[in-house]
């Protein structure tokens, strides 16, 4: 325990009064976080919030001390979340050199608040958005994609720059490969093109648009983010959604996982030129989206999850239809995927490509499919169960190796697990209502809501002001943790392996850019 003594322990989807979060001076904060992470804790979020304006002039303060930094640590050993806060100085000794998982977070903080971590090895914008506070801090106004990219000098070394507009139908982002011949020495990923200002717009809520921001924050993860949001709101309102609603949310979440994993396996097949599986999976993915549309009318689950429960119930006849269609999906997808994973030509391309070690994955704080494909048992459904996952547990599917094959294999294992889960969940839906009215939110309260989206851990950290309105709203999409993993997986690869590696991670641009 020791390392965790400084932290307030709380649970997934639990509300705590903001004033009960322990506050220490920054050096102590830094030491506690670094020690805890070295001892096996994981940095789930590192939000910063402006401290409420004091009515009376405060004691002489160091500049920048109107900001507070909050560490949200996931402690898998005790299935708890640890919270610790400190006043954030204008400049602070960066955590990153001692805790690499903090490096993207510290870049975000510097960009959003115009403050500076000293000794950060790689300080540049992640979204190219203007800071929340109008301070210059010597930073030029951001201009998308303009930054100090790493360079490499030498004969035959060259750079390949791709994007923001790519060849296929995908979201925009900029990739810069530092190559020597065909070999990639480093890949620098520069995002921000999708920035729509979601976190800023959430402040002062809940508002009628809130749920729509959540449903479209990463539109392929509508159920994931809408559920994380709804559970956070419910925690702040002191409400538990009805069991039937939690059952339907989980079914929709597993359908979302199913559709995306099937689409990804098809796309991987396409990238290695194995067309039968590409074509079958493209269609089967659509069949699964249509199952979600049976539930709520929308192929992406729009309009289903709402704070307080779900908007649509599933009556007996609908359940029977879904169960029938599910069996067809199971048959089709088994045929399509077995074909691919039995083909030596496919395996030869997947195996050993884009490898990440378990140690690297742990150090950079990888989550979700990518982490499980490095053999790490990281799955919110299992570690910090919520809703119906308390009762209906899913196995954590891992695979060693950390390569493209492992990421494909984990998806295939999860497809089978989700199919079973949905079947059992539909047959076994708890009775009762599927929605409750949401009362006012508690004032000066904090809630952390974790959900296992199909890419990995989704974390929402939400706090209210004295009137029960959102005073801060922090979203951490799994892609936020994992983009750097893709960059590392590309080291030493041939540049032609990039499409395959990229697909094997399939990260969200808009989920990152917010």
């Amino acid at each position: 325990m020791g390392a965790m003594d400084d932290f307030l322990l709380t649970g997934n989807g639990q509300a705590v009064a903001l004033r009960t979060v322990p506050r220490v001076e920054f050096q102590g904060f830094r030491r506690a976080v670094v020690t805890a992470v070295a001892a096996g804790a994981r940095l789930a979020a590192l939000p910063v919030r402006p401290l409420p304006v004091q009515p009376l002039p405060k004691r002489a303060m160091a500049p920048g001390s109107d900001l507070e930094i909050l560490a949200v640590l996931a402690l898998p050993d005790c299935a708890r979340l640890g919270l610790l806060a400190a006043v954030l100085p204008e400049r602070w000794p960066a955590l990153t050199p001692d805790c690499p998982a903090a490096h993207w977070f510290e870049r975000e903080i510097a960009e959003q608040w115009g403050v500076e971590p000293d000794g950060h090895p790689w300080l540049k914008p992640i979204r190219f958005a203007p800071p929340y506070r109008g301070r210059s801090a010597g930073l030029a106004p951001p201009s998308i994609g303009r930054t100090d990219f790493f360079t490499m000098a030498g004969i035959e070394s060259h750079e390949v720059a791709v994007g923001p507009v790519h060849a296929g139908i995908i979201e925009p982002g900029h990739f810069r490969f530092l190559c020597h011949g065909e070999t990639v020495h480093h890949l620098e990923i520069s995002l921000g093109y999708q920035h729509r200002g979601i976190e800023r717009a959430m402040l002062g809520g809940p508002s009628p648009r809130g749920i729509h921001y959540m449903e479209t924050l990463a539109g392929d993860t509508t159920i994931g983010h809408a559920t994380a949001y709804s559970r956070a709101v419910e925690a702040l309102a002191g409400l538990t959604a009805p069991a039937r609603a939690e059952g339907l949310r989980a079914i929709a979440a597993e359908l979302e996982r199913l559709a995306n994993h099937i689409g990804d396996l098809g796309a991987l097949a396409g990238d290695v030129g194995f067309l039968p599986t590409l074509n079958y999976c493209g269609r089967i993915r659509g069949d699964v989206l249509n199952l979600t549309a049976q539930l709520c009318g929308s192929r992406f689950g729009r309009g289903l999850v709402r704070p307080g429960g779900v908007f649509w119930d599933a009556e007996g006849e609908r359940v029977d239809q879904l169960l029938g269609s599910l069996e067809t999906v199971r048959r089709d997808v088994t045929g399509a995927v077995t074909l691919m994973l039995d083909a030596p030509s496919v395996l030869a391309r997947l195996e050993g490509t884009g490898r990440l070690s378990a140690e690297t994955a742990r150090r950079i704080g990888l989550v979700g499919v990518a982490a499980r494909a490095c053999g790490l048992e990281r799955d919110v459904r299992f570690e910090y169960p919520y809703g119906i996952y308390h009762l209906a547990q899913l196995p954590v599917n891992t695979w060693p190796g950390g390569d493209c094959f492992a990421r494909a294999q984990v998806r295939w294992l999860e497809i089978q697990a989700s199919l079973d889960f949905i079947g059992e969940g539909l047959a076994d839906l708890p009775a009762g209502p599927c929605h409750r009215e949401v009362p006012e939110l508690a004032a000066e309260t904090l809630a952390v809501s974790l959900v296992e989206g199909w890419r990995g851990e989704i974390c929402h950290v939400v706090g209210t002001d004295s009137a029960g309105r959102f005073a801060f709203y922090k979203v951490v999409d799994p892609s936020f943790h994992n983009w750097f993993g893709l960059a590392l997986a590309m080291r030493g690869q041939e540049i032609s392996d990039f499409p395959l590696c990229n697909k094997s991670f399939n990260l969200s641009y808009c989920g990152h850019d917010l």
């Binding site: 979204r127 717009a201 729509h212 039968p276 709520c296």
Partner: protein
């Protein structure tokens, strides 16, 4: 090899009969074109209070009749649920696309689908339309349901419609997303790289009006803020059938029955 053939037989031929045959049936809960019936109660603003995007307004020249702008609508049904008189109802009509922005504003009473036909596109591109897709802040749902038209079920290649990798190979752009400030320049350049004559298609509430992000300083309220738009396809996201229908009527491949 044998296994591949076996599996091929088992997975069957799946391309839909539409448009020669019937359109695929949409789920009972699908929210298509809204229907507005009858005058509102005076002073009632239940629907306007819940609408996240301000898509509903009182029609200027009618006594308390409503107007609903499906170019802003997210099809969330909040208004349908909130209306005490049952005046707003969502039908399963999937034909939502229109060639003009004004035609997306729906008034009281029944009306056929708005015209999506485009004279130039019909003349030049009805046998071959190559599109470059640009995501300018889209959430990946509009993108996914455009992309799906290339899969064997929808197979828009049947009509000579195809997404291509370079704007230089394209006859036009299919734009999704509200046009974020950070994508403005890239979209401008991509548009400039498409040879004339060119067309632009805006898919989804974001690309038409900014959608859920309308009014945010981080974006531009849609594609028309930057380039002239020739076809608007509403939805959040539009169903693939809505997109395909829009493309086919735009090109005159499917006749407009009004």
């Amino acid at each position: 090899m044998l296994k591949i053939f076996q599996e091929r037989c088992r997975q069957k031929y799946r391309t839909m009969a539409y448009p020669d045959g019937p359109a695929p049936e949409l789920p009972d809960r699908f929210a298509g074109k809204p229907v507005l019936e009858g005058p509102c109660r005076p002073d009632c603003d239940a629907c306007r209070n819940v609408c996240p995007t301000g898509a509903i307004a009182i029609a200027p020249e009618s006594s308390a009749g409503l107007e609903l702008d499906i170019g802003r609508c997210l099809f969330c049904r909040s208004c349908e649920k909130a209306c005490p008189e049952g005046i707003i109802r969502f039908s399963r009509e999937h034909r939502l696309a229109a060639a003009s922005r004004e035609a997306l504003v729906i008034g009281t009473g029944p009306r056929g689908p708005a015209s999506a036909r485009h004279a130039l596109a019909t003349r030049l591109f009805s046998r071959s339309l190559k599109l470059r897709q640009v995501c300018a802040g889209g959430c990946n749902a509009c993108e996914a349901d455009s992309n799906v038209l290339g899969t064997p079920v929808w197979d828009m290649g049947r009509f000579g419609i195809q997404f291509v990798a370079s704007p230089r190979h394209a006859d036009g752009l299919l734009i999704t997303g509200p046009v974020t400030a950070n994508m403005r320049l890239a979209l401008e350049k991509t548009y400039a790289a498409v040879p004339e004559p060119k067309i632009v298609i805006a898919v989804g509430a974001c690309a038409i009006s900014g959608g859920p992000y309308a009014g945010h300083p981080e974006q531009g309220d849609g594609a028309a803020s930057l380039v002239p738009v020739d076809l608007f396809i509403p939805g959040c996201p539009p169903h693939p059938l809505t997109i395909l229908d829009g493309l086919l009527r735009f090109l005159g491949i499917v006749r407009e029955d009004r």
